[in-house]
């Protein structure tokens, strides 16, 4: 490997060295403040190095496995900043849970490294490795709490179902490889094969199986069964991570695979995607309606949100609308990251003192506006953004999705998006109404780092909603480079 190649891998190298340093520090001194500070600092350093590399970028392959381009760096920046905020929010939560919490941050960094690998990967080998790195760290993070069979149950469910979906995906990869003889995305795109008979069948079934595996990880209907249970059982900061960083990394690789290989040319796959998106939006929103647990409600709402994202993903199948669709999905994902981290961040802060089970019952949030107005304000902003109310990033994101859908003329899906948003309004606003009710005070100790991190997330969300121009410029430059 040459120096320039090493230089363009700077973010990954930085993060890896932070992981190694952190491991040594934990081995010698267990101090949660130090561990958390080091991880947050390391993630900031990684973020700086992402922008550093992005500044004078010479896009290109680094070994056949990874590619460093504006697209990979944008998703890396998103993943690293997501992990940064989750680290800060998790600190106060972890302090209250006694000893042996240091490894949590080590696992968080390792999972982030897996996410960055996914964003860079352009080869099935690095794809599977990144996915497993993310997955294995997540199993341990979900089952992290020392007491509580609840989280163990969630981890076991995630482990088994995730392993099955990985197996299905590997089978699909093997079928594609059997026809095309390569695992690299660019070679799969350029290798010719006879588009008839068995070869075509193999490619179609293989792509379908890969898509099924990825849909599981993105928790799209009909592969969503695990989502509410795992989201409910996992500790709140881990749920935030599971809903954002893990899905963002996988979506990055899915979009890259489809645009490089041009799987959009297959009618069957497009119609499969159509049903997946349609069902995700409807089922997610309808099941979220009657939930009394905030975590379960957010789980179903995240199914619906990723369904909206898939609308933009399908819109990229039209050649004319491709750039706008990629732009839309990237912007929507940024807004989704901020909102979801913010929403689970509030649940994390509310649950700081309850060490056996997170505070996720809707009734626990009654009267929050009177006892903790600022926290309730943050939560309301997140709910409004999820519902797509103007002045929040969620509005711009949804607007973008609809614009992309209109350009590619996906009328049925657009109608479903509108219906879904209408249903969504009900349960998002219900949370806000619950918080305005009068009730007895229940004390919440807000940790300083968590509070500041929440303030920063909310501020970013509003800034993105009011003045999105710089981010839109960035996102459209990335989309232009990718098309």
């Amino acid at each position: 490997m040459s120096m320039t190649e090493l230089y363009s891998l700077l973010p990954m190298i930085t993060l890896t060295s932070v992981i190694l340093v952190l491991m040594m520090v934990i081995a010698f001194a267990r101090n949660l403040a130090l561990t958390c500070g080091l991880s947050a600092g390391g993630l900031l350093l990684t973020l700086v190095s992402v922008f550093w590399v992005n500044h004078d970028l010479s896009a290109g392959f680094v070994t056949p496995l990874l590619v460093v381009d504006a697209y990979a760096l944008m998703f890396s920046a998103l993943i690293v900043s997501g992990s940064f905020f989750i680290t800060l929010i998790a600190y106060g939560y972890k302090v209250q849970r006694g000893e042996l919490q240091d490894e949590f941050f080590l696992l968080l960094l390792l999972a982030t490294l897996g996410g960055i690998t996914l964003a860079h990967s352009t080869h099935f080998a690095s794809f599977v490795l990144g996915l497993e790195l993310l997955g294995i760290s997540l199993y341990a993070m979900i089952s992290y709490p020392n007491q509580g069979l609840f989280s163990l149950e969630a981890a076991l469910k995630y482990l088994i179902l995730s392993a099955v979906s990985s197996a299905i995906m590997l089978f699909g990869i093997a079928l594609v490889y059997a026809v095309l003889g390569s695992l690299s995305f660019t070679e799969i795109a350029s290798n010719v094969y006879q588009d008839t008979g068995f070869d075509r069948l193999f490619i179609l079934v293989g792509s379908g199986m890969i898509l099924a595996g990825i849909s599981f990880k993105l928790s799209l209907v009909p592969f969503h069964m695990w989502t509410p249970d795992v989201y409910e059982g996992a500790p709140a900061p881990v749920t935030a991570f599971l809903a954002t960083v893990s899905k963002g990394g996988i979506f990055a690789v899915l979009l890259r695979f489809f645009t490089t290989v041009d799987s959009y040319q297959y009618e069957t796959i497009i119609s499969g995607l159509f049903w997946i998106a349609l069902l995700s939006i409807l089922v997610g929103n309808i099941l979220a309606l009657m939930q009394t647990s905030i975590k379960r409600m957010l789980a179903y709402s995240s199914i619906a949100q990723i369904g909206y994202l898939m609308v933009a993903f399908i819109a990229a199948s039209e050649i004319g609308g491709k750039q706008l669709a990629i732009e839309a999905s990237a912007f929507f994902l940024i807004a989704y990251f901020l909102t979801t981290i913010g929403a689970f961040g509030v649940v994390t802060i509310m649950s700081i003192d309850s060490t056996d089970h997170d505070q996720d019952g809707l009734d626990k949030y009654e009267g929050l506006f009177w006892h903790r107005p600022l926290l309730a304000g943050f939560f309301s902003t997140m709910m409004l953004s999820l519902a797509g109310i103007p002045l929040t990033a969620g509005f711009i994101g949804k607007f973008y999705i609809i614009a992309a859908g209109v350009k590619s003329e996906l009328w049925i899906l657009l109608a479903v998006v509108v219906i879904g948003s209408g249903i969504g309004l009900f349960y998002y606003l219900r949370v806000i109404f619950t918080m305005t009710k009068q009730s007895e005070s229940n004390e919440v100790n807000v940790s300083a780092t968590g509070g500041w991190a929440m303030a920063a997330v909310t501020l970013l969300l509003v800034i993105l909603g009011v003045y999105p121009a710089p981010v839109i410029e960035w996102v459209s430059a990335v989309a232009k480079a990718l098309v």
Partner: protein
């Protein structure tokens, strides 16, 4: 054509053994079938021209990991009730079918070795080629895999430690 026959034979053995591994009620019996399934896939690897992968399959899966399994099962059955369980495992008769499957594989290997290099298609990839590739274009895969192992190690350490502490408090 003959190679294709060899392939289908070992594939059938692998399938049958896997079905038996999944449907056995007895863990030890299931393990034996699992080992046979792994051996059969090793034969398939050899057939498609990957002798190195075949050897790794036997060394790591059928060898090291299976021995670990057996150790765990043995340690879970300490004391005299364990003897009864072990006696039940070693009932005469249960070894006949696994041995037949193994004999089929053995016959295949003996045949392949006696009649020179037999493989389906393509070229033979030896250990040297694998090594050159792993430390050439795929060096980053090795690095990422090392991080993957680190994640597994840290996770297993944390989860295992929980039970160590519980056990210490009890005693």
């Amino acid at each position: 054509m003959l190679e294709l026959g060899l392939f289908y034979t070992s594939a059938t053995v692998a399938l049958v053994a896997t079905v038996f591994a999944v449907t056995r009620y007895n863990v030890a019996h299931a393990l034996i079938y699992l080992i046979i399934s792994l051996l059969a896939s090793a034969v398939i690897f050899y057939l498609v021209g990957a002798p190195f992968a075949a050897i790794l399959e036997i060394l790591i899966y059928a060898g090291a990991i299976m021995v670990l399994f057996v150790f765990v099962i043995m340690m879970l059955n300490l004391g005299s009730p364990g003897d009864g369980v072990e006696h039940q495992w070693l009932q005469p008769g249960m070894w006949i079918f696994p041995s037949i499957l193994c004999l089929v594989l053995l016959a295949e290997i003996v045949y392949m070795l006696s009649s020179g290099d037999r493989m389906l298609q393509g070229k033979m990839i030896g250990p040297k080629q694998v090594g050159i590739d792993l430390f050439g274009p795929y060096v980053l895969a090795v690095e990422i895999a090392s991080m993957l192992l680190l994640a597994g190690l840290v996770g297993a350490y944390h989860l295992g430690r929980k039970y160590l502490i519980d056990a210490r408090e009890e005693s």
